[in-house]
């Protein structure tokens, strides 16, 4: 027998016993043939290797998904023609023959045949099957995906966001997945990053990516850091790869424990603590996510399902560490996810700026008009054109003209948040073109600015409605000014403010208005009905829903800093968590959502006798959140989560300040100092401020967030505690005892742009005092619901004053005082006194 024949027999023997003669011949040959023995060993080895495939972990739910897809396919109505008579049957048979014959002729004619699938479902499957891999994998990223990180996602490790067939149908709950925990609970961070950014992957990432593609087992919902590889040694690389694979394959059986949760706006640090207590497994939240808040309502859910839902919604990852018998899990946001959020923020901001620029372009065609011509034309114009002409007829004319003459550097400075000043009389003012200068003065004439003579012989500019005095354009020495600034109302929402004015002698007057605004996509309507259209026919969402959230807070009765009643004072408000709770109570569905402080009128999120699908769309649009359905979860994510995350104040701080306020009966000054140290984004947020007052009763929040006083508060905060207390004494803090950096900051706060004019002798006697007048709790009850909502009873107005004193015998002694609504600059040696009221309208806030 030849070796080839023997090897054939070896193969056959693996599949079953050989006849005796063949077996004997085989054994005889093998005894004397080394090569055939090697083949036999190889064959055996292959058999055992391939047998290991039987243990290959597999994804579940494929059958369920296919059945769901099959059941939901468009139905083709089949009509059967009854055969009533032999003649009819004969005619039918003849027709059939004709059709068959015609078909054969047609097929043989070599014409290209385009088959039209009668069943749209089959058409979809056919066309899908014919696509090549590239066309399938190249799923384009779109802004629509911004909040889709938490929507239906395949287990991590799968390189495509959706199973291709799964894209055709809503996901079907496939029960607890037996695949690895890490794969199950974590979304693929790489995939998420790739969807939004064009970040080059390092070689390590490439290796990890390839391995992840191969491994479908293990707790792959948990992020496993790839081992550090030093150098390019193959052995080290292989060892690192092997270690990574081992880690990825692990399944922690403890994660099958079930938990029930009903938490509203709970920080992850607290949630992890609760999960640890309930399950005995160590969970922690890393610093990157510890203060993010989540709302969860679920019953008897396996921990791994919950972990996966969190990972899906937030694009956070679970890191596993510790011994195999007691793994610890830490929730964190990886650098890639952080970069992705940054990218989303930038995109959102850029979209807003582009929208603003488009709005400004509408003004371009009207720039040839003078302010007077624009005013004349606006009388006969209507609608949007009228509004634009009115802008150009007044103080907007000069600013609009300037906008279109800005250099790229100036535009960059504007986008960077700087204020562009024009007019030589202003500090740091850029030169103003002559033709614009005249136009601005003419506009000042038109809006009623007049120049009057002071008793001491100096001139002053007066505002609207003054009849006496002469127009600026005919006053020698009147200098026109114009300013441009980009105002960020809320993050992602921009307005271009333009002001023009006139300065004369020591005084100046200006008037401003917003020229255009740009709304970022994130603050626009999320249009849930559109983005969830594919779920419209989901039977589980067609059930009737009656959603009526229970209000958890009321708006405070009086906005003391405004001196009037707040709109809707005493009215109840609901949070997004209240709404999600109502949905859960009504539907029994498992719910997970992010939480950002946002108060909503209950009427806007109350739905009766509507399908759940419609109710979710309406409610989510009202809350500016996007909803999605993933497995059994209903997920809710703020449409602007990447901006909202920056605004939200940690719950632990709010609770602590609330407790301190309750203890004292008013907000202690140390707490106000702490509040003022929050980020600008947190303090600028109107929603956060409203929530702090209504939910936590921090009625003095405005004192600390006021943009006018913010720098003063922060200066105070940077002074060590023991010295800081002296600020509240009659003598105040002796600035000369502060370090040099402190003295410099004092000079800037006291003198603004002229800080360099402050001398050492001025600082020697300089002091800083703070006068804090707390809110009278008796006058302003935090429980305003007890009082009728239409009452605008005056309440005690708290205030804080920062008093900066400095000076010398040569330059005189000066006192600068800044408080909530007022700033004064006084000379104390009797030579003179200047006091001015700051206009607050252009300084943000609600005014």
């Amino acid at each position: 027998m030849t070796c080839s024949r023997i090897q054939q027999l070896v193969s056959k023997q693996i599949d079953g016993p050989l006849p005796e003669r063949q077996r004997a011949a085989l054994e005889l040959h093998l005894e004397g043939c080394q090569r055939c023995r090697e083949y036999r060993d190889r064959f055996d080895r292959s058999a055992s290797d391939l047998a290991g495939f039987a243990a290959l972990p597999h994804p579940t739910g494929m059958a369920a998904r296919s059945i769901s897809l099959w059941m939901n396919r468009p139905q083709v109505v089949q009509r059967h023609l009854p055969v009533r008579t032999p003649a009819f049957a004969a005619v039918g048979f003849a027709c059939l023959l004709a059709i068959v014959f015609g078909r054969i002729v047609f097929l043989r004619s070599n014409y290209p045949v385009t088959r039209v699938a009668r069943d749209p479902y089959r058409a979809a499957v056919n066309s899908y099957s014919k696509r090549d891999d590239n066309s399938i994998r190249a799923i384009p990223a779109s802004p629509q995906h911004l909040a889709d990180l938490g929507t239906d996602r395949p287990p991590a490790g799968s390189k495509k966001p959706h199973s291709r067939l799964g894209e055709l149908t809503p996901a079907v709950h496939a029960g607890p997945a037996p695949i690895g925990d890490l794969a199950y609970v974590n979304v693929n961070e790489l995939e998420a990053v790739r969807r939004w950014t064009q970040i080059q992957l390092s070689e390590t990432d490439r290796i990890r990516d390839r391995i992840d593609r191969l491994i479908s087992s293990g707790d792959d919902f948990v992020e496993v850091p790839f081992p550090q590889i030093a150098g390019r040694d193959d052995r080290a690389t292989r060892a690192a790869v092997a270690a990574y694979q081992t880690e990825k394959e692990i399944v922690d059986p403890r994660l099958s424990r079930k938990v029930s949760l009903a938490v509203k706006g709970m920080a992850f640090i607290d949630l992890c603590k609760k999960l640890s207590e309930d399950s005995g497994i160590a969970f922690t939240a890393g610093r990157t996510v510890a203060n993010d808040k989540v709302t969860i309502f679920c019953k008897e859910k396996p921990l791994r399902d919950l972990m996966r839902a969190i990972s899906q919604l937030f694009a956070f990852g679970w890191i596993r560490s510790g011994d195999p018998s007691a793994y610890r899990y830490e929730l964190m946001q990886g650098m890639r996810a952080q970069l992705m959020e940054e990218e989303l923020r930038n995109r959102d901001r850029n979209e807003a700026l582009l929208a603003l620029d488009r709005n400004m372009e509408n003004l371009r065609g009207l720039l040839d008009l003078s302010p007077a011509e624009a005013a004349e034309k606006s009388k006969s114009a209507t609608g949007e054109e009228k509004q634009m002409l009115e802008k150009l007829a007044g103080c907007g004319w000069g600013a609009a003209q300037l906008y279109f003459r800005l250099s790229p550097d100036e535009l960059g400075a504007l986008r960077g948040g700087g204020e562009l000043r024009f007019g030589g009389s202003q500090e740091g003012g850029r030169p103003l073109p002559t033709e614009l200068a005249n136009g601005i003065l003419g506009a000042m004439d038109r809006i009623g600015v007049r120049i009057q003579l002071n008793p001491d012989g100096s001139l002053r500019a007066m505002g609207n409605g003054i009849q006496e005095g002469q127009p600026p354009s005919s006053t020698p020495g009147a200098n026109p000014t114009a300013n441009l600034s980009l105002r960020r109302n809320e993050l992602g929402q921009y307005s271009l403010d333009g002001s023009t004015g006139v300065s004369l002698g020591g005084g100046a007057i200006s008037q401003g208005r917003d020229l255009a605004s740009g709304m970022s996509p994130s603050v626009q309507n999320p249009e849930n009905a559109k983005s969830n259209a594919k779920l419209a026919r989901d039977p589980s969402l067609r059930l009737e829903a009656n959603i009526k959230p229970e209000p958890s807070c009321t708006l405070p009765g009086n906005s003391w800093w405004m001196g009037n009643a707040e709109l809707g004072a005493g009215e109840p408000r609901v949070t997004t968590a209240d709404v999600l709770e109502a949905i859960h109570n009504n539907t029994g569905r498992d719910i997970i959502g992010d939480y950002f402080t946002k108060l909503i009128m209950p009427d806007r999120v109350t739905v009766a006798h509507s399908s759940l699908f419609d109710a979710l769309n309406r409610i989510s649009d009202a809350m500016r959140v996007k909803w999605a359905k993933s497995d059994v979860w209903l997920q809710f994510r703020s449409a602007a989560f990447f901006n909202d995350r920056l605004k939200e104040v940690p719950g632990q701080l709010l609770t602590r300040w609330q407790a301190a306020r309750r203890l004292q009966g008013y907000m202690p000054v140390d707490e106000l100092v702490e509040i003022a140290q929050l980020t600008d984004a947190q303090l600028d947020s109107e929603a956060m401020a409203e929530g702090a007052r209504a939910i936590y009763g921090l009625l003095e929040w405005q004192l600390a967030r006021d943009t006018f006083l913010r720098k003063d508060w922060r200066f105070l905060a940077d002074i060590p505690g023991a010295v800081r207390r002296a600020a509240f004494d009659a003598k105040g803090i002796a600035i000369g005892r502060l370090p040099l950096s402190g003295q410099e900051r004092f000079a800037t706060l006291a003198m603004g742009g002229r800080a360099d004019q402050m001398h050492a002798e001025d600082l020697a006697v300089a002091t800083m005092r703070v006068e804090y007048r707390p809110l009278d709790s008796k006058a302003e009850s935090s429980d305003s619901s007890a009082r009728p909502s239409n009452t605008s009873r005056p309440a005690a107005r708290p205030n804080v004053s920062f008093i900066f004193s400095y000076g010398s015998s040569q330059g005189g002694y000066w006192t600068v005082e800044r408080s909530l609504n007022r700033m004064s600059n006084r000379r104390n040696d009797g030579i003179g006194s200047i006091s001015e009221e700051e206009s607050r309208s252009s300084r943000g806030g609600r005014l």
């Binding site: 090897q7 054939q8 193969s11 056959k12 693996i14 599949d15 090697e38 083949y39 190889r42 064959f43 080895r45 292959s46 290797d49 391939l50 047998a51 290991g52 495939f53 039987a54 290959l56 597999h58 994804p59 579940t60 494929m62 059958a63 369920a64 998904r65 296919s66 059945i67 897809l69 099959w70 059941m71 089959r122 499957v125 099957s129 014919k130 090549d132 891999d133 590239n134 490790g157 799968s158 390189k159 495509k160 199973s163 291709r164 067939l165 290796i207 390839r210 391995i211 593609r213 191969l214 491994i215 479908s216 087992s217 690389t237 292989r238 790869v241 092997a242 694979q245 081992t246 394959e249």
Partner: protein, 192 residues
Amino acid sequence: MQQIRNWPSIQSHSETTAESELLRAAKRGEPQALRELLQPFERDLYILCYGILSHAQDSEDAVQETFLRALQALPGFRSDSSFRTWILRIGTNVCLDWKRSRRIIPDDHPVAGIPCNRRDSTENEVLNRIRVLDALSHLLPRHRAILIMKEAHRLSIPEIAQTMRWSEKKVHNELYRARKSLAEWRFREMEE
């Protein structure tokens, strides 16, 4: 036509009464029966598709398409073969079609060639699986299919023959060719 109308009466000896009931219910389109009928084959199909396609996500998709084709063809299933071999045949055809009609993206595994000393550890199990995948990728798709059926699914030669619609002799020959290709690839690997 007559046979189709009377299909319940034509049952193979391998089909138990329970299976028959299940099939009947499934043909009526009862979701629960369909699920009970198809779900047990998720693993077999996935392993088969993974063995042929060497790509986890593609395999998942292929399994779904197999189920869809099976659902469409179910009314025509006459039970003259076992349901298992029938659905494996569909799965094989789906994968072979994919291999033929679509550009194959090679998976260059960075771990190829890692020696496997401790067969009993999970770590080496995984590494070995990757190595085997590499080896399989050098075989013809039909060889991959029958090797998986034989070694992983433990199908008998007649069952493989039924699935592939080959003669038993051809199955033996193809298995031999597949094993030899695999062995030769390994010899080459060792030499390198």
